[in-house]
Structures are given as structure tokens and as C-alpha cells.
Symmetry: C2
């Protein structure tokens, strides 16, 4: 099986001395991402500096049938960057240049290693706006955002990463460099391979350059924190705000269980009577926001809100967001083990989803606090447990949750991808014919299955099952 | 070659008597679309009523290797609905139900035969908004919009059809019914086959149901008509408006040659001194539009505008649009033959494109008036001639234009698709490896090449070249 040694020798020759890293400490740091997938050591790591090197690595690995796992920020939540089949990790942290921001054309060209938050700052400095804002934006990188089609709270109004990718430079499984897509917003020449590659989790090709569409930066942002007596009134608030003709940049929900956790950490007092919380953020022209705030306020009060706080300036807005920002950490501290599933349902079904979660939680005796992007129906359902013996119950609860989600017209993942962790559940959502069709597309792009093996498809993940 | 007779007998049995139409008049009406592709008679037409019938037709045609051409409104501009290889046309005009508009979830589920304009009316009646607005919206249908990824003026702010397609029900080349995509805005489960199928011009699968994302309807719309002394100031106006942080729903440009044509038809006087015209439309909250108008007005005046007219109400706005609306017809009347190419360049390059067109026009002695969606760089370059002997010069001018477009970082088609007419030029834009990869995807979805044969790929079109 192991063609790794001759491959590494060839890589050494092609890239130059010291570029193929095999130091155990280095390998260990590329064995995990931010998911619960156990560590898998790569055989080698190459920190690429330009597209040609990616092509060299890919060509040599293809010749020797050595698996390749691309990695940008390594912040994925489903195991996408874990080198399940070992082999070579192509690491993009040194390919992190913003090659250009073309203000008149509202586009930017970047390398995959650019940190998302740094990109936000760079485009905002020239009055432009890149909306996708995954929670990990301080450490995740744009190449990973493209691989996973990352979202974030602002997806409600602005969509996810795919909506901003105009074109890609990629290296295919055999080492060919290819440009797909365009540099213009419109363009219908041929099949949309760009959209196919975005969200393909590194299993079809490796991105070496991204051309993003940008928007003018909104003039102003206001944040509303809404306290509600129960979840039903929170659900009504979401629909009433949209029915008022408003499209907020985000509407974030905290349920009763998550509120209980963050109540002590919140910068604003959250009374015991509040059993649900919404954070609603509106952006646009300063002059329009007052009227919009009024309409949004009226909508949530009519839906049953007991208290509405408004903040217009950055410092104040941060105070309202503090509870939401602490959530993931607070949840992690509250139990020894935690799994988070970022399911999506049509937004009108959120109350039914939360009801279903409550039933599942009681039935399987697993704590399941939920929060997330209520505006677009993307709820992060958390599973908390403290004793390894509870694991079977947790997995039964997860499967029951996924089944409830699909029954409500939803989907398994809003932004985390399938990776390793969700692959076993893919058949709950997708028909066998659809999975087979996608596997044939995988075979077409990567006939030797050397590109990020063991991801997305149940049969592919199972091949490494013993190890994960 | 001809398996058509046994196939038609089986279709008759499967669908019932009188459903497989072979009357010569009927066949003739399905032999063309609104492109310049010469008529190609199908052998039979089936006006399908439900998805199961599409699956039956496809299954039987696959068994007998009979080509199938799907057709919605038949308004395509590049020959997508012309049955180049004869065979069976699946016509969708009777599958035209709006199955549901789910207001709280901001989605609609429709059949492919729904007329785009009727869909606009239906969603706007409940306060919602479906932005794509191809010029043919009174007669084109949503299935065709999906097949071609149709755009329209509003694409500047709102994007094209693909940006609104959440999920599809399709029938594949072997007659399998398949659901792809989702009913929610977010969703990253598996590869994005939905985006791959949108814009694939009926060559990969046949759509039988579309789930669209909708938006809240903007409160108000205002239209500005801007007269400019020259094209350079029009180009500056476009960039200055965007630099002012505005994102209009559209910015439409008329060049000197098109202005000369429509001057006599315009409902507002256009002085001879005006050598370029921009129509800028802003939408949003009533209260914000006044301030936006002021900023847009200041931007175009600074860029050199000589006159700015503003209209807020439907009747007045129609007056400003009259000249733009008459354009296509006026152009058609001004010469015996006309070809229109909907090229796209990065918007900052529009002046360079128009300059290039002027040089090409002089060199090849072909009239080339240009107009279009300046905001997103999508310019309709027209080629007018009156004598068949000029055809070679016209084709040389078209090829030179495409080469100029690609050199400026643009793309061959913004919204019309490749179809038959643009296929010969595909290699100007795309590398051989990229075309080959797309052909392999076509082979994977449609191994017998029975789905809309002779479209997109030069080698596929050439097979029918004698006939077209």
C-alpha cells in the first residue's frame, strides 16, 4: 500500500530541501481540526507558497496514489481537514495574500490562506463589504470557507460563501491547473463548475485562488436584543419581522436552556421570566434604520416580546452580543462532551423543531440546548453528556433529531458540511440515486480517490471506519 | 438510425391516445425559438402535464436512443430549445401551476411552464418579490429561465435565476425522478447539483419542479434618466454611483448609435447633444430613497451628466423606460439581419469594450450599436446588416468582439447561454481541459447524448452542423 516513501523523495526533489515536513510535532498539529474526529497523523505536510507547488504535490501524489488533504484554517466542525487516510497535508497558511481589491469592479482576488476576519478588515477599509461571517472568522481561512460553503449569522440577508465566489483557480486530482468561473457578476458560459466546487469539501479539486464579489459597505448597523416569555413568541417574532417587509442581516435565537447557561455571563440583565432571546440586526442607510427599527419593534411586541433593547454604536452592540458570543464556550464548559449539529428547517418550523428536540432530549435523557440563526432556520442543536457510557443514547438522539429535521423539510447541515461526522446520516436526507450520482461525480474528478479521502459519502468514510 | 417509430408507438401506449402530437403544423411551431437558429422539425411533441409523464417520455426515449429537447417558453436567444437532432420535444406550457407560495418561509414551488411575469404578479400580490426580470418576461417561462440562468436588468443588485433556485425536481436521462437541493436558504449537504443543473441548458436533466427563494418586496422604486455628453462620462457615472456606496437595482446604458435610433420614439426629449443615456433605478425603503437619489444625482453630475430626470410613480417611470423598451424592436427594424451578443466585461472596462467595438465596427464595416446592463458589465452588442454577402464580415466582427471581451477579463454570455450560436466561440473563453471536463460531466449525466443534443460544446454542435 505504501508508496509514501518514493513520493516524499520526489516531493523533496521537486520542492527543494526542507519543504516536506515530517517532524512528529508538525505532523501532530495537522492531525486534527476543530471537530470531534480523533487525530489522524499525516505522513508529511507541505506548506505551499504558490499554485505551481500545489500542482507539483498533486501530480506527484497522483503518480504514487498518495492521499492528499488540503487544509486552510483547520477550524472545520465535521472533520473535513483531518487526514483520515494519512498521506500528505497541503497547508495553505503561507498562501495568504490578498492579491487585489478592485474597487470599481467590486471584486477581490485572494489566496486560500487569507484569514476571513483579516479579509473583512481589508475590504471594509476601502468602503466595501464581504458578508459571510462564520463564527470562527478570527482564525478560519477563506479557502476553508469555500470548501465548506461557510455561512454565519449574516447569511439571512446576504447568503453564504458560494453567493460571493465568482471564479476559482484550482488544481485537479492529476495536478492540472484550471480556471473556472468568471470575474463578473453575470456569466452563463458552460456549466457552473464554480458552484459545484464550492462546498465540495476538498474532494473534487484544490483551490489556489478565489475571486470574490463584494458589496458596498452598509452605512449603519443597529442591534436589537429582544426578551421573550417563551419560544412560541420568538418563532412568531421571526415571521412577523419578515412579514413586515424587513430583511434583517441576522436574527439569532437562544432557547431556554442556553439562556440559563449564559444568564450569569450576559452584559445586560436577563430576567428569569425571559425564556427565549432574539438578537436582531438591521443594516442599511442610516436614515432608513430608524423607521425599520420601529417596524421591527412593533412586530416583536405584537408577537409577545417583554423587553426590547436597542444599540447603535459598536461598543453598545458588543454588549448585546456578549451573551451570544460566550455561548459556545459556556456550553463546552457545562459538560465533559459536546457535539453540535447545525441543522436547518424552513424558518416557520423552528418551534416544531425545538419541540421535537425537547421530546428527543427527554426520551434519550440527553441535554440538548439549542440556539442559532433563527432567521434562516439554521439551528445549532447541541448534545451534552459527561459519561462515555451515554454515547449510545447521544447517537440515538442525534439520529432522531436528523429524522425530525428531514420530516420538517429541512437539511442536515447549514454551514458545517458533512465531512466525517455527518456522513453516516447522509442517507436520511438523500435518495440512494442522488448519493450514487454524486459518487460518480467524485469518481470523474478524482478517479484514484486521493483527494481528501474518507469524506461526505458513507461508503467512503466507512473505508477508514476502524480508525475513526 | 431511426428508432423513432417504435418509440412513438410506446409513447402512445404509455401516455394515452392523442398525447403524442405529430401534426405538421404543431411540429413546425416547435421547430424554432427566438434565436436565429434555422428551424429543425421535431418528430413528435408531448405537452406534458405532470412529472411522471416526463419520466415516461425520457425512459422510453432512452430505451430507443431518441433525442429529447425540453422547451418551456421557447424565447431563448441562442437556440437552446431548437430540436437540432429532431426526436421528441417535451413542451411544458401545460405544466404551469404555481404549487405554493409559502409566505412565512419566503419560498415558492412552481412547475416549469409558469410564465415569469405571471409569477412576478403572484408573489407581489402577497408582498413578496422575485427579482430576475429577463426582457421576455411576458412570454418566457421559469423552466427556461432555470435552464439558461436568465438575468435581466435587476441582476445588478439582485443576481440571476440561479441565486433564487433552492431546489429542483428533475428527471434524468434514463427517466429517474430525483430531488436535488433544499427548501431552505442554507444547506451544505453534499455537492451543489442544483447550481450545476441551473444554466445547463437542458443538457444534463429535465426540470419538473422548482423551489424558489423569495424576498420581501421593496417598499418603493425610483427611476433616474441621465443624459450624458459622451460614453466616457457614462462609464464614470456607473463607477461613481457605486463608489457612493449605492447598489441600484439596475443601471442601463444606451450608446450613441442606439440613442440615434430611439430618439424619435422616446417619450421624453433627448437632445442631439446627449451621446449616451443611463437609466438608473433604486429601490428600498421610501424614506431612504430621497437621500440615495441625491447621492446618485451628485455622482452622475460630477461625472459629467448634462441632465437628470427623476420619476417615482409607475406611469412616469414607464415614460423614462419607453426608449429602452423600444430598443430591441427599433434595432430589428433598422436592418434586415440582426445578431445580438450579450457579452460581459468587468464594469470598469465598459468604455474600453465600447471603444473596441467602435474599432471592430469600422474595420469590418458592420454596424454595431450597443446597449445593456452597464451596472453589471453585461452589454448587448448588436450586429446589423442587410445583405447576405456581408455575413462573413459579421462573423469576423463577432469573433473579434469575443476576443476583445475575453482580453478585458469578460465572458461570452451574461444571460443568453451558449446554445448553438455561441458554441463555436467557447474555446475563446475556456481552456481545452475545462471544456473536456464539462464534456465528461455531460457524458456522466447523459451517456447516450439524448438530452438536448447539439448544444454548448463545439464538438456536439458540429455533429449537426450540416443541418444548421
Amino acid at each position: 500500500m505504501s508508496n509514501i516513501d518514493p513520493a516524499l523523495r520526489k516531493l523533496d526533489q521537486a520542492l527543494g530541501s526542507g519543504r516536506v515536513l515530517t517532524d512528529p510535532d508538525v505532523l501532530a498539529s495537522y492531525a486534527v481540526d476543530e471537530s470531534e474526529v480523533p487525530p489522524h497523523l499525516p505522513d508529511a505536510v507541505v506548506r505551499v507558497r504558490e499554485a505551481r507547488e500545489v500542482a507539483d504535490v498533486m501530480r506527484i501524489c497522483a503518480e504514487h496514489s498518495v492521499p492528499v488533504t488540503p487544509r486552510a484554517g483547520g477550524t472545520g466542525r465535521t472533520g473535513g481537514a483531518v487526514p483520515l487516510a494519512h498521506g500528505v497535508v497541503i497547508a495553505f497558511e503561507q498562501m495568504n495574500r490578498i492579491k487585489g481589491i478592485e474597487e470599481d469592479d467590486l471584486i477581490a482576488v485572494v489566496e486560500p490562506g487569507v484569514i476571513t476576519g483579516a479579509f473583512h478588515s481589508a475590504v471594509e477599509a476601502v468602503g466595501l463589504f464581504y458578508p459571510p461571517d462564520p463564527n470562527s472568522l478570527a482564525s478560519c481561512a477563506l479557502g476553508g470557507n469555500v470548501a465548506e460553503n461557510a455561512g454565519g449569522p449574516r447569511a439571512l440577508r446576504y447568503g453564504s460563501t458560494r453567493d460571493y465566489v465568482l471564479g476559482l483557480r484550482v488544481v485537479t486530482a492529476d495536478g492540472t491547473e484550471l480556471s473556472v468561473g468568471k470575474r463578473t457578476v453575470k456569466g452563463v458560459t458552460g456549466y457552473d463548475l464554480t458552484s459545484l466546487l464550492v462546498g465540495s469539501e476538498g474532494t473534487l479539486a484544490i483551490t489556489t485562488e478565489i475571486t470574490f464579489k463584494l458589496l458596498p459597505k452598509p452605512q449603519a448597523v443597529v442591534t436589537m436584543l429582544v426578551l421573550l416569555p417563551d419560544l412560541a413568541s420568538a418563532g412568531r417574532s421571526v415571521t412577523q419581522v419578515l412579514r413586515a417587509g424587513l430583511l434583517p442581516r441576522c436574527m439569532e435565537l437562544l432557547d431556554e436552556a442556553t439562556l440559563a447557561l449564559v444568564r450569569p455571563l450576559s452584559a445586560v440583565p436577563i430576567p428569569q421570566s425571559a425564556q427565549a432571546l432574539l438578537l436582531i440586526e438591521l443594516d442599511g442607510d442610516e436614515i432608513a434604520l430608524d423607521a425599520q427599527l420601529e417596524r421591527a419593534g412593533a412586530a416583536v411586541v405584537a408577537a409577545g416580546a417583554s423587553e426590547v433593547l436597542v444599540a447603535r454604536h459598536a461598543g453598545e452592540r458588543d454588549k448585546l452580543w456578549a451573551a451570544r458570543r460566550e455561548l459556545s464556550r459556556a456550553l463546552r464548559k457545562s459538560a465533559r462532551f459536546k457535539l453540535a449539529e447545525d441543522v436547518v428547517v424552513p424558518r416557520s418550523r423552528i418551534p416544531q423543531l425545538i419541540d421535537a428536540c425537547r421530546r428527543i432530549s427527554e426520551q434519550h435523557k440527553v441535554q440538548m440546548p439549542s440556539y442559532g440563526h433563527a432567521g434562516d432556520g439554521n439551528i445549532h442543536v447541541n448534545f451534552l453528556w459527561s459519561d462515555p457510557s451515554e454515547e449510545a443514547a447521544v447517537h440515538a438522539a442525534i439520529e432522531a433529531t436528523f429524522k425530525a429535521v428531514i420530516a420538517l423539510g429541512g437539511t442536515l447541515s447549514g454551514e458545517h458540511g458533512i465531512g466525517v461526522l455527518k456522513a453516516p446520516y447522509l442517507p436520511i436526507e438523500q435518495a440512494p440515486e442522488l448519493i450514487a450520482l454524486q459518487e460518480r461525480i467524485k469518481d470523474l474528478f478524482d478517479p484514484k480517490h486521493i483527494l481528501n479521502p474518507g469524506k461526505i459519502f458513507p461508503a467512503h468514510v466507512q473505508r477508514f471506519h476502524g480508525a475513526c
